[in-house]
Amino acid sequence: MRNKNIQIMVETAVLVGAALLLSELRLFRAPQGGSVSLEMLPIFVLAFRRGGAAGVLGGALLGLLQLVLGGYFVHPIQVFLDYPAAFMVLGCAGFGMLKRNKWLGVAVGSFFRLLIHTVSGVAFFGAYAPEGSSVWAYSFSYNAWYLVPSAIITGIVILMLGRPGEVFEPR
């Protein structure tokens, strides 16, 4: 009798490793941090393959590791949102109907990540900029600028990965 937990645990870890590798292979880098890459792909694969809980856990690990490998700390709330939280929400793609409609899963997960980065940007400016500066639009559009292309590429790749079947179905 195989221990399912160890199997899922190791698989999550290896996929997080793949995500870290892909996050370094930037297709395009934005000037203030954030870049267009396929880093979200392994987390979505994990969520579709092993369910939302594994996806959320994998996302949290990815965020923590990015922080450990040299993240940016400018405010406690910003760190929590930009690192674990922003990647955790990608795991939502593994829940319910999102798991069956993969493109919808990618879209919803990425949109949640965009929201979290936006809130983080607002929290940052709330702490550093004088009151009255309008920052929601700025933060949203800045983050959308690299996240939307990333999400589109990831979505296309996810749809095409589904065809061989091996990737999303554990043996």
Partner: protein, 264 residues
């Protein structure tokens, strides 16, 4: 996509006092620094914090440019923060440029916010520059241990982080191998528009994922065969050791934080 000189993480190995400190000491020290930087409110406080960070950088024997390089990606945010404060804080006007007014309060606030940002980034990056990711993971595991009582799987999280880090070089090697194999068959990873490129990545990604799952399965079987049962009673090859130098460092850091945080 280029693989040459790919470095993941910014750790720079060394043998300085700072490098040799226990990771837990460094994590606690960094936390104290963050608390300090958010509690001081004046230039003397920031000046003293800057001196302390400079002393740590000097003691770490790292070249200063490594630390300063970390600030570069945040240059735009830094300039934006300082100038927003400079021009948009109301108060006693100092200087008028066209329709923008620099106020005395704005100048002070801008400089202070800029100083806090720079010190936060320089200070926290010292942690990741002088501590290897594996050591940090070990440190996080022991610091999270008390949280096990409320159901945080500290050991499992640390184990997964270690496995993830361990697999990066393996996966990188595999990616290169698959890329070469597919290029020999005529695959093209360099040209085309975004859509085309994404499509071209499929012959790379499918074998990469399938291989990764196979490796993960092998590792899981190996762990089970060796009786892996999670964190309970597990021993380590390299134990973290909290020595006298750590006790001294912690004492200095706490004393400094309390004094500077309280008085300035």
């Amino acid at each position: 996509m280029r693989f040459k000189n790919l470095t993941i993480g910014q750790h720079i190995p060394g043998d300085s006092v700072i490098h040799r400190l226990d990771p837990r000491t460094k994590i606690l020290g960094t936390t104290m620094l963050i608390v300090l930087l958010f509690s001081v409110n004046g230039f003397i406080g920031y000046g003293l914090a800057a001196l302390a960070i400079a002393a740590v950088i000097q003691a770490s024997e790292l070249p200063w440019r490594y630390v300063l390089r970390g600030l570069r990606p945040l240059m735009v945010i830094l300039i934006l923060t300082v100038s927003l404060n400079l021009f948009m804080t109301e108060g006693e006007p100092l200087l008028r440029i066209w329709f923008l007014t620099v106020t005395k309060e704005g100048l002070l606030r801008g400089l202070m916010m800029g100083a806090r940002l720079v010190l936060l980034i320089a200070g926290t990056s010292m942690l990741t520059l002088t501590t290897s990711p594996i050591q940090l993971t070990d440190g996080i595991e022991t610091l999270l241990n008390p949280a096990r009582k409320i159901g945080v799987p500290a050991h499992e999280l640390a184990m997964m982080m270690t496995i993830a880090l361990r697999f990066i070089p393996t996966l990188l090697e595999e990616t290169e191998k698959i890329m070469k194999a597919q290029m020999a068959r005529g695959a093209d990873f360099q040209s085309g528009n975004l859509m085309q490129r994404a499509k071209n990545l499929i012959p790379l990604l499918v074998p990469l994922f399938v291989n990764a799952f196979r490796r993960a399965d092998d590792l899981a079987i190996a762990m089970e065969a060796r009786g892996y049962r999670g964190g309970e009673g597990r021993t380590k090859f390299r134990e973290l050791r909290f020595g006298r130098i750590d006790a001294a460092a912690i004492t200095i850091v706490i004393a400094f934080t309390v004094v500077v945080g309280f008085f300035f």
